[in-house]
Amino acid sequence: MLLGALLLAAAGFVVFSPVPLGTWMSGPRDALWLALGENPHPVKLMVPADTPLSAVALLGVRLFHDPSLSGSGRMSCASCHDPTLAYGPAGSLPVVMGGLHVTTPGFRSVPSLRYLYRQPAFTIGPDVENGNDVVVPLTQQAQAATGHARVLKTALTPQAAATNLVPQGGLFWDGRADTLEQQVNGPLYNPAEMDGGTLQEVARKLATGPYAAQLQQLFGAGLLQNPGMTVDEAMFAIGRYQIEDQSFHPFTSKYDAWLEGKARLTRMELAGYLLFNDPAKGNCAACHLDQPGRDGTPPLFTDHQFEALGAPRNPAIPANRDPNYYDLGICGPYRIDMRASTQYCAMFLTPTLRNVALRRVFFHNGVFRSLEQVLDFYVDRDIHPELFYPRDAAGRVMKYNDIPPQYRANVDTVDAPFDRHPGDQPALTPGEIQDVIAFLDTLTDGYTKSR
C-alpha cells in the first residue's frame, strides 16, 4: 500500500513537473535535478577579475557622471544610462528628452550598457579578420554574403547559426560603433541627446575643467594642445570605466547563481527556462544564448546578430509623425556606411536579456511597454497581426507598418516562433508566457550581493 502510494506520488511528481517526459526518459538524473529546481550540471563561471580601478577608469567614473559636458549642463551619461537600472532607461517613455533645453525627443530607446565587455566588432559573418592583416571592407563582406544559405536558428543547436554570414556585433541598435570609446561620441554630440556642441567646445571644457591635470599626467603634457586627442582620451576613459568596473558585468543574477549550483529555480521559473530552450515552444535561446561555455564563460543572452522582426511603428515617437521617416537600423538613417546594403534594412542588434525585467520600454522604438507585450508579439505576430498593427482605410491590417514595402522581405519569417501563419497554433499559451517572464526575472542582477 505504502509502496503503491509512493509510486503514485513519484509518478505524479514526474507527470506534473515542468520537465518534459522525454527528458525523464533520456536523462532521468538531469530531469530529477531540474524538477527539484536545480542545475544538473553546475559550472564555475569565469567572470572578469574584480581589481581596483586604474587611474584612467577613475577618471572615466567622474566623466560618466558629469553633466557639464552636455549643452544643457544637465545631462551626463548616467542621466539616460541609470546605474540603478542596469545602466538602462528609467521611465516608460520610448525615447528620452535631450538637447539644449532637455526638450528634444530622441529617436530610439536607450540600450543598457551592461555586458558589452565581450561585444565583437561589426562584421558580416563571424571572424572575418582571422588574424589577417588585410582589412575586408564591409561592402565586400556584404557582397560575399549574398546568396549564402542561412542555417535556421534553433535553441537546440544555437552554435550552428554562429557561422551564418549575417550582420553581427558593434554597439548601438545599428552596430555603427565598434568600441566603447567610439560609442560615447554618439550621445555626446547628438543634438537630441547630450548636445555637447562642437569638438572644440568639448575639448575646451576638458582642458579648463577639473580633469586637465589628470589628463596631462596620464597622456602627456602636450595633450591639451590637441583638442581631438584630448576628447578621444576622455572618451576612452569613459569606455575604460565600463570595461573595468564590476557594475557593468556583475553576473549576480539568480540565473548565474543557479548556473553555479547555488540557487533553486521556482516551478514557474524552471518551466520558463525549459520553454525558453525548447525549439518547438519559445525557441528564445536560438538568439538569446543562455548556455555557459565549456570553460565557464558566462552566457550573455545574445548571439550579437541582427534581426528584422517588423515591430509596429510607434506613434509615441515624435519623429514618426512624418510618414516618410523610417528608422531602418543598419541601412540608416543614423548609420551611413551601409545605406546601399538594403538587404539589411530594418535589422537591429539583438540585445542582451540580462536585466530585461528592469526595462519599461522594449525594442529599438520602445513600442512595447511590458514583457507581456513583447512575448505576445513574438507569439502572435503572424497568427493575429491585427492585435499589433493598425488597419488602413480599407480595413486591411498594415503589417510591418514601420518598414517601407520594398524592404519587408527582410523580416524574419523562418526562425521559430516567427514561422507561423494565420490559423496556426501559437508557440506559447498565455500561461506559458507568464512562465517565460518568470524566467526572465531571474536574469536581473542583484540576487547575490557580489561575487
Binding site: P48, P52, S54, A55, V56, A57, L116, Y117, R118, Q119, P120, A121, D127, E129, N130, G131, N132, D133, V134, V135, L171, D178, T179, L180, E181, Q182, Q217, L218, F219, G220, G222, L223, N226, G228, M229, D232, E233, F236, G239, R240, Q242, I243, E244, G293, R294, D295, T297
Partner: protein, 549 residues
Amino acid sequence: MRTFFSKLPTFLGTAAIVSCAGSAALAQGPSYWGSSQTATPIKHLVVIYDENVSFDHYFATYPGATNPSGEPSFRAQRGTPEVNNLANAGLLTHNPNFTNPLNGTNAANPFRLDRTQAATADQNHGYTAEQQAYDGGKADLFPLYTGTATAGGVGAFGTKGQVMGYYDGNTVTALWNYAQHFAMSDDAYTDTYGPSTPGALEAVSGQTNGVDLVVTSSSSYYIQDGAGGLNLISDVDPAYDVCSSTTNTVQMLGRNVGDLLNAKGISWGGFMGGFDLGITNSNGTTGCARTTTSAVTGVTENDYIQHHNWFQYFKSTSNPTHARPASVWSVGRTYDPNGQVDPANHEYDVDDFYAAVRAGNFPAVSFLKAPAYQDGHAGYSDPLDEQAWITKVINFLQRQPQWRDTAVIIAWDDSDGWYDHAFAKTTSRSFDYPADQLNGPGVCGKGTQPLGLAGKPVNGRCGPGTRIPFFVISPWARSNYVSHAYISQASITRFIEDNWLHGQRLGGGAFDATTGSIMGMFDFSGRPNPPLFLDEQTGEPIHNQQGWW
C-alpha cells in the same frame, strides 16, 4: 645511495667543465643531446618571433617611463646607454608627421599610450603603404598611409594619428627590464617592407623571391619579379596546410636554414601555438578552429595563424597535415628513435617544445610563435598578453640546466606600420610599378636590384624595411647593452649558420650573405649574466630562483 654516488663523478665532471667554459672563447661544451660543434658556447638558440611592433612603438622614451601611480613602475639603472629613439632624437614634439600638411586632420605628434590602452586598433602595414609612409626616408607620412586598419576589441583605444602612439616601461615593462640586463639592438630592420609572411620568410630564408602559386584567385600578394619569376610582398597562406585558405596558397622555391640544419643532422624545430589539431582548448574549440579569447583585448582569435608559419612554406620542411611527432624524444629530429622518418618533419606545437625541453631533449635551434592572442599583434593581441608569453618562455628556459649554453632572440616579423623615425639607406632596390613607392612611383632606391633565386636581379625586395626591436637574452649576452650595428631578420639565419654551420650561406640572393651579425651582442669572456625572472603580469623582477636541477 648507490645511484647518487654513481652520478657524482658525472656531476663533478660537468661542474668542472662548466666552470671552465667561461675562459674558453671557443668551447667544446658538455655533451648534451642534440648538441654539436659550435663556433660559440651557445648550444641552444630559441627564437621568440613576435608580431607587429616598431622600435619606437616600444622604446620611444626608453629608459624614461611616466610611472603613474597604480602601474608597474620602471627606473633605469645607472649607466644605461643612449638609444636612437624619439626622445633622444628630439622628435616627441614638432614631429614631421605633425607638421607635414599632407597628413591632413590625422597629423599628430607621438603620444604616450597608457597601460590601459594595451588594446588598440591594428595599423596598415602593406609593402607599398609603408614605403609611402617612409617618404624617401623622411618618415613623415605615417598618419596618411599607415593609419588604422581594424578597430580592435570593444575596449580598444583609437584616435586620429594613432599610428604615432608609443608605450613606455609602464606597459612593456618586461622588455625594458630585459634591455637593462641583456642586449638589444636599436638598428635592427625587417629585410623588406611588408607584413607578416615576408617577415617570417626573411627570418629563416632571407628571401621572398621564388613564389610558386599553388592555388590563386588574387594577385595582391605577389608581383612579377622581372626575371621570369614571382616575388612575395604580402601575406598568403602556405600551400597544403590543412588549415590554409582554399583559394590562395603558395610554396617557396628557395631553401631555408632548416634545410641546412637537416643536411648536418642538427636538431631543430618550428613550434607554433595551436599547431596540434588534436588538442581541445578549455573553451571547447579544437582542430584548426582552436581559439583563445584575450582578457585584455576581448577578441577571440585562432591560436594557429597559418601565414605566420615560417617553415611551412617549403616542401622540404613542411608538415601540412600537422602530423604528431612519434614521441617527445623525436622532437627536433628528422628520424625517430627507430630510424624511421618522423612524421612531424620538424614542425610542432609550442606545447611540444616545453615537453621536449622538460624531458631533456632540448633542440639546438627552435623557432617559437605564441598562440595568436599572445603574439603582440595589435587588434587581436596586445603588449600585455605578449609580455605574459615572453616572460613565461624565458622564465622556463632559465630554469633549465642547459640555460648556461642558451641564447634567446626576441625579434618581430614586421612593424605593423607603427611610426618609427629611423630609416636605413635602401640597399635592396626594387622598381615595380605600382608596388614600389619609396622614392616615387615605381621607385625604391637607386642602382640595381638584388639577385634572386635564378641569379638575376629581381623586383619586390625593397629594403631594409622598418625598424623593429631585437633582443639577445643569454648568460652570454652583453648586459645593459645597446648595439648600433645594422642587423636584420636574416641575421637570425646568419647566426645559426655562423654558430653551427661554419658560416655556410643559403645563396640565391638570400640576405644572410649581406646582412649584419649579432655576434657583437655577445661577450663570451668574463662572467655570465645571472638569470632574470620577471612576473608575467607586471613584467617586474621577481625573486631570483637559483639552481638548475
